[in-house]
Symmetry: C2
Subunit: 460 residues, 2 copies
């Protein structure tokens, strides 16, 4: 009979039980056993189906069948919803079907009752989603992407899949990954005159993208506002808990941006809105992530207007407090993370630092017409993570752009975008993992992405 | 006064005008001039802001200012909504602000009134979004991704960003792209004993992902159903209008999949639902794409139940009709596209071909227990594109999986997923661009992705 029920009843995801059921309802659930407690007449099983951080208890009679159940087993049960003494819903079932043996004694690296260090958990990357706080992180990451897509769609942005293979090494030298076919035979077969042998697939050197910005701009000149939420790659030898070789960037380009304040206002409104939606949708997961990370949730910034400092004002504040920093003040190189956090604390809100020295910023940023030493650029500094977004107005004057000494020769196409119907535009980029670290309090970026890639580590 | 209005009124996107406005309303629009017609007293401008395929007409008085306007100019105008003789809304403005010169006579490769061949348009990739049918494609692509994310979220799947850098070369040899840092200096600096010099960044060879499936499976064992919509890469020397070096795959893994029919039912329901939503949301864009591609929209498959053939039945049909094919019948290698389309035509609906020869399919597919020569695999064949999805039940028996002669040694982790709490699972992958080709009728895959990458071509 149980078998019959299994095929004819819809399986209820645990996350929905409290909202979709009432005491007395008959429900079918499936999941993995996380914990087992055996009392005299009954066995109490904490089960998880991956849908929520909240524990769900299954109560079954103690007998020779249920006695075999251990942590890690997959189970299926049809039973009656009841209210437990702690006020939570639980499921009382007469029988429970074991879908699979847990086998956790046979070399499984995690102990159900022990809290393992993140470094240790990362060593077993393929099994990591079975750890509750990692599963919660993945649900938060899913929801964060969903609310970004929803919001940008409502605001009528077009999502553009910017290419990951590109001939543009963008802003820097030496920090890029090179891509070529693994097969020597293929390279030979595709050989062309005047093309180096290792470049024969694309007829030139090809790299992994470090940013989709320039490609977004090309699309915005036909489509209006565009965005991308896509992987980006940096070949840095960094052990920092804020950097990965493969990470995600949320980037947007907005047309008709004439003043930096318009761009800052968009960023502030967007971040407040998506964060509020995320908090409301995944409250339990976020609390669970914060608890596991021993982080407190300081989201006071959702409620207040954010401040703006010019680079010169910010520098003055940092210089006046230089004795309190471990890091040196370097006016030609911007601020250290410590100094960024000082500026945030000083203002008591997130801070847009605007009007940066031209020398510190890339060629595409729009020069202040009243002061060629400054560009219309902004960095957004947030509590705990420091810089979260960087953005600028773009130089939309083709002649001005052409004259920039750092304009790469290969970017003639980028200048052409402006030549034919150039318009004031602006945009920003946000490290998506850094945003997740901000929201969840997780210290190491390797724990907010499913499969972290960093120096000397590319598991699976 | 115009300037004042510009800063105080909200700019209305053209796509929304017909639903959000009524005759007599005052509106502010911004866009690019697509076409100019000069009559005695008035100038008629077709303008586009990238939000819709439908033309929108701006009517301004003919005078010395407006006389300067040409195709390609950016313009801003505040005016009054009126109904044109053809029944469409148009905007009558007293003046129009020119935001930028069009400069289209100065080397712009496209003529506003001419229809250029897709090959020619692709040569000017950075300007391509200004071509109406490409802009329409990009909006359709955006919407298709949005409806997939919405649907999968409603179905409680967790989106997983599967890694693009991987040590797993998955199903094949020789078809992968290799990744390593461009900087020789960095490689030297990171050198380790017993690691080849060119592998020092990750301590091993790293490739671009060809599929996120195995990584999804690892996540599904903790989270339940998961999916990804992510780039994948193939280093093939193919000039085919169905293949790219960088393309997008929509892949999903479902837990508690015990029968292939369950998986097929999910795919059918999902494809009908997302396609219906896409059609309803972007009707004009889809019609415009089909028109431009000289394709007719045959979406009769939305209304009928789809059929299923076993591989053996399908082969029998193909063999019985072999005289009608240009391609040879090769029972050991599956079907050619021509034969796939024959099967679709024969059935009069999309077809799931199931229960494939074990020899033709990869190691992870579940063997039919009643016939080890067959695996629980499916291909979904659709009109015009042939194979759209491939999927299977996964072999969840760790012992059985371990014995498979094609199991790569490096995938011990994949077997371990099953060892600890293995469950019946199944999943599928769909080429996202092929889906777009199916829906829009566009013949060349290079025209449904913003920046196509293929042999000897990686522009921008």
């Amino acid at each position: 009979m149980l078998l019959l029920k299994r095929f004819h009843s819809t399986v209820q995801r645990i996350a929905q039980i409290s909202s979709a059921s009432k005491p007395g309802d008959t429900l079918h659930v499936k999941g993995w056993i996380k914990n087992v407690r055996r009392l005299k007449n009954n066995i109490f099983l904490d089960i998880s189906d991956g849908s929520t951080s909240e524990k769900f208890q299954l109560v079954v009679p103690r007998n020779s069948d249920t006695q075999q159940l251990t942590s890690g087993c997959g189970v299926s049960a049809v039973g009656c919803v009841q209210v437990a003494p702690n006020g939570h819903f639980e499921l009382h079932a007469d029988e429970v079907e074991s879908l699979t043996d847990g086998h956790l004694r046979d070399g499984y690296p995690f102990s159900p009752k022990q809290k393992h260090a993140p470094e240790y958990v990362r060593e077993h990357l393929h099994l990591r989603s079975r750890i509750d706080y990692i599963a919660a992180q993945m649900r938060v990451r899913h929801r964060a992407q969903k609310v970004i897509h929803d919001y940008m769609d409502e605001q009528q942005f077009v999502q553009i899949n910017t290419p990951l293979l590109t001939t543009n090494d963008c802003e820097g030298a030496g920090e890029v990954f090179r891509v070529q076919p693994e097969s020597e035979q293929l390279l030979k077969q595709m050989a062309r005159q005047n093309v180096p042998a290792d470049q024969s697939y694309f007829d030139q050197k090809v790299f992994l993208s470090v940013s989709g910005q320039l490609h977004l701009e090309a699309m915005s000149y036909g489509l209006g506002n565009t965005y991308t939420l896509a992987p980006a790659f940096r070949a840095e030898n960094s052990k920092s808990p804020l950097h990965l070789a493969e990470f995600y960037m949320f980037e947007a380009e907005l047309v008709h941006m004439e003043r930096l304040e318009q761009l800052a206002a968009f960023i502030e409104r967007m971040l407040k809105e998506i964060t509020t939606r995320l908090l409301n949708a995944n409250t339990a997961d976020l609390q669970f992530c914060q608890q596991s990370a021993n982080a407190s949730s300081d989201l006071a910034w959702l409620q207040v207007p954010w401040k703006t400092l010019s680079y010169d004002e910010a520098l003055e504040l940092v210089v006046a407090n230089k004795q309190s920093f471990k890091s040196a003040v370097t006016p030609d190189e911007g601020f250290s993370k410590e100094q960024e956090l000082f500026l945030v604390a000083h203002c008591g809100t997130p801070v847009f630092v605007i009007d940066w020295p031209t020398k510190q910023k890339p060629f595409y940023m729009r020069m202040c017409r009243s002061n060629p030493e400054r560009v219309h650029a902004l960095d957004l500094l947030m509590p705990s993570v420091g810089e979260l977004c960087g953005g600028s107005l773009r130089e939309h004057d083709a002649d001005q752009l052409s004259k920039h000494p750092q304009l790469p020769k290969s970017l003639a196409w980028y200048v052409e975008l402006r030549k034919y119907g150039g318009l004031p535009t602006g945009g920003f980029g946000m490290g998506f993992e850094r945003y997740l670290q901000l929201i969840t309090g997780v210290k190491n970026i390797r724990d907010v992405i499913p499969f972290p890639r960093y120096p000397h580590s590319c598991k699976m």
